[in-house]
Amino acid sequence: MTDREVDQQLVERVQRGDKLAFDLLVSKYQRRLGRLISRFVRDPAEAEDVTQDAFIKAYRALPGFRGESAFYTWLYRIGINTAKNHLLASKRRAPTSTPLDTEEAETYEDIGLLHEVSTPENELMSKQVVDVVQASLQQLPEDLRSALTLREIEGLSYEEIAVVMNCPIGTVRSRIFRAREAVAENLRPLLETGKDKRW
């Protein structure tokens, strides 16, 4: 079952009245959608509100989602429209002179356009999370680090990773899981301290 099929499975569950399934989609896409929206809405607090609005709009629109496109492209389109409507409503201009379409916005790499102002507490927490993940990655044995990097950063399938690393697919599966779990072990104490602000 591909990633897209997992999304479709969750969407169909929501369409059958399963609200909890929508939680899993929110967990999965919240940062990617937030990153996209922050390219239009500069203020981080506003961007977070718009991201929430976009999810609620997506939930309301889900009965009409027919699965002809991938869920995430549909969600990103809603996110962009919500951000633009927000800017229009607050009578402000979008940060870029040319409109970005969904794919451009998603792959846009100019971090200079991002507005990374946050509350000091959030900013610190964010930095700590990033530091812990990166430090944990560096501490991993080479084979685990390579497997996780090939999967998460390069986006390779298990089959492709097996070819690159010259090992069975089952070994790839195990290495990626062990790598994730090792990083998660280091993250848990940090995240448990901020219970009101889960990450």
């Binding site: 079952m1 591909t2 990633d3 897209r4 099929e5 997992v6 499975q9 369409q15 059958r16 009245g17 399963d18 609200k19 929508f22 899993l24 929110v26 967990s27 999965k28 919240q30 940062r31 937030g34 990153r35 977070e48 991201t51 929430q52 999810f55 609620i56 939930y59 309301r60 889900l62 009965p63 027919r66 991002l114 990374e116 946050s118 959030n122 927490m125 999370v129 990033v130 993940v133 990166q134 990655l137 999967r151 998460e152 950063i153 399938s157 298990y158 599966r173 195990s174 990626i176 899981f177 994730r180 779990e181 990083v183 998660a184 993250l187 848990r188 901020g194 602000k197 889960r198 990450w199």
Partner: protein
Amino acid sequence: MKQEISSLMDGELFEDEAEGLLDRIKHDSSSLMDWEMYHLIGDVLRQPEHIHCDLSARVRKRMQDEPVILAPRGRAVKQKVRAFALSAAASLLAVGMVVWMSLQISPEAAPQIAMQQTANRPVNLQIQSNSNEYLMAHQEFSPSTEMNGGASYIHTVSYGTDEK
């Protein structure tokens, strides 16, 4: 179970395994945490410069005011049912037509019709010579032939029947 979650988010589980696992994740808070944590790790690795706090709790709170969606059964399913019903109806109609026609044409009537056609035939063959030439010249454009454009390369041979 954690390893299954890891495989699920990579799209590397079979459908039946994935369906069962999704049910378990929804109803088990520690599995839900693992799902969120693994996604956070992936997001940090891909975009470390844009990590914000978890919005899912806030979205979940707002979702409490939202009505439960009960969308009509998937349109894809409806379309499949409709297509099946249409093809079944067409098949039934075709079978009905064949049966009806076979009942209408009795075995005794068939030779009479055949004889009647034979009797009419000379009348149909009385084609004027000028229209015959016209048809010969333009037959390559006839949609009934499967040799469009090829007819011009075919030589026709005729002979007179009334020579004595």
